[in-house]
């Protein structure tokens, strides 16, 4: 059961010759943003390593991250799943069911203790013992902890696993909790986005395979290679932002001319993601290019930073939804009214004092 094959052998078996293989490696290095000096290293990595087992768990989620993953174009998903990693457990793609499927998970955890990758899509409900997500009669939360215990590293796919996403939006009825708040003793890579871009997902995996280590992460545990800068700073509409040329209404003249969507609520200025560089669906487009303001879907708590079509987010204040400007204007009004009332009070008091003094002087 344990004769393991290297990528190169597999690729050869697939009819990929050495030349194509080298071409693939150099493309990959370009894609990952490394100089051609890295090519030999990629070749070596692919040449010698057996396929890393991956257990891909699904918690509270919409499975969009899987859907996005299978849209990967370089490398294509089939290559990753069949040739680069060994995707041994994944509810959405696995052939086996029920206890046969569970048996695989247990087997991998045993045979590859400390050597497998745990990929998690979705997150875990922590309220009410976790009854809001159950697998095989137990809570997903338990399953997650159990599977993470012997993992080499954890990849948190999507905004659900990374930050909580939609089910964790107020009032978070199930206590949905992102992975890094449950698994604290393992290296975790957050790959946010609702969903993340396909090539970002495959990029994270191939980075690990190629360079033999997790990509460098930022403060929010996101790979810098894909979440290093804001969408806004590399958006092709940025010149219009700087020039103050904004779409004022959807489908107006400015919209047809591709002006900036800031006033339509675009969250590009506060969103770290690769949409404006890697783009979506093999570089076809990204929301802003199609005329839609960015929702900020790779940012923590973006659902509660709405409404989506205004620049200024709502803030919950004394049980109402309002925004900073409304609160500010009410505060200014209240201050002005208060001071006016106080002025009246002062005048009355002064008058009284005058009367009293006058009386005293009289008396």
């Amino acid at each position: 059961m344990k004769k393991e094959t290297t990528y190169q052998e597999l690729l050869e078996a697939r009819g990929v010759n050495r030349r194509d293989f080298l071409k693939f490696c150099s493309l990959m290095s370009v894609y990952l943003g490394f100089s051609s000096a890295f090519v030999p290293r990629i070749v070596r990595a692919m040449d010698t390593k057996p396929r890393i087992p991956v257990i891909w768990l699904h918690g509270l989620e919409c499975t969009c991250c899987s859907e996005s993953f299978i849209r990967s174009s370089h490398p294509i998903a089939a290559d990753i799943v069949l040739n680069m990693i060994s995707l041994d457990y994944d509810d959405t793609l696995s052939a086996a069911a029920g206890h046969q499927l569970e048996a695989i998970r247990k087997q991998i955890m045993k045979d590859y203790k400390g050597e497998y990758i745990l990929a998690v899509e979705g997150n875990a409900p922590t309220k009410d013992d976790g009854v809001y997500c159950m697998v095989n009669g137990d809570s997903f939360t338990n399953m997650l902890k159990e599977t993470a215990a012997d993992a080499m590293a954890v990849i948190a796919w999507g905004s659900c696993a990374s930050f909580g996403c939609v089910q964790n939006a107020k009032p978070n009825p199930t206590g949905a909790t992102p992975i890094h708040k449950i698994i604290k003793d393992k290296p975790i890579v957050n790959v946010p986005g609702c969903p993340p871009i396909a090539e970002v997902m495959s990029g994270v995996i191939t980075h690990l395979l190629t360079f033999g280590k997790l990509p460098e992460l930022d403060r929010l545990k996101r790979p810098k290679a894909f979440y290093g800068t804001r969408i806004h700073d590399k958006c092709y509409r940025r010149p219009y932002f700087d020039a103050g040329m904004f779409v004022e209404n959807f489908d107006d003249e400015g919209a047809k001319k591709g002006w900036c969507l800031y006033k339509m609520g675009c969250k590009g200025p506060t969103t770290f993601n690769s949409c404006s560089t890697v783009k979506w669906n093999e570089g076809t487009s990204y929301p802003i290019q199609a005329g839609y303001p960015c929702l900020g879907c790779s940012e923590p708590g973006f659902w509660d930073n709405g409404p989506f079509y205004t620049r200024l987010a709502d803030v919950a204040f004394l049980g109402t939804n309002t925004n900073a400007d409304k609160i500010g204007m009410v505060a200014v009004g209240a201050a002005a009214a208060g001071m006016a009332a106080h002025a009246v009070g002062t005048a009355i008091q002064k008058n009284n004092l005058k009367d009293e003094t006058a009386k005293k002087e009289e008396g």
């Binding site: 040329m245 506060t270 900020g296 200024l312 987010a313 400007d325 001071m339 004092l353």
Partner: protein, 230 residues
Amino acid sequence: MGQLYEEQYVWRMPVRVYHWINALCVTILFITGLYIAAPVLSPSVGEAVWYHKMAWFRYIHFATAFVFIANFLFRLYWALFGEDKYGRFAGFKPWSPIWWGQPFKDQLRAYFFLKKEEPNYCGHNPVAALTHFLFIFCGSWFMVLTGLAMYGENNPGGFTDSLFGWVVLIFGSSQSMHTMHHLVAWVFPVYLILHIYAVVRHDIVDRSSVTSSIVTGYKHKVEECPEYAD
């Protein structure tokens, strides 16, 4: 515990200069800040160097922000090390029960018309001191830290981001930080209303020429100085 009836030099030059630079900066920051959030001027079309309206507003906001920060830091220095009886923070100890004692209560009661005789101070009265602390001191720190954290975001890993990037973790996301920067911005106009009202009122009630004092430095007819101000 000075009992003064004559002209008194209260606000020394550094405090006055600080005050007016600060007032100017805050005004500019507030206006440009609101513009950044809601760019209302009609769109302009043309050569970038002339028409970069949004860029200009942001640039003015940032440039002013750095003047504001420098000025603020200077005031902190002056408060801690300046040889200035009224400009120091020395007596200001809101964490100590003593500070909340009689002078503070008396002043508050006077403001609420519960006490007829209003105390009169050379420097700040204790309620004013607390208001300055909350609105100006805390408010400025808040705006500076969130402002710099946002400013650093265009170059993650760069100088500003390395120093102030941690601030975003407090708010969870960049967008929430923007929201709070925006919300707290409103503290300044609220403060301005309270502040100007208080100043003008004191002038009328005490005839102490407080208003002009922030220009000339001199106050008149002061009866009492609080314990803490020494």
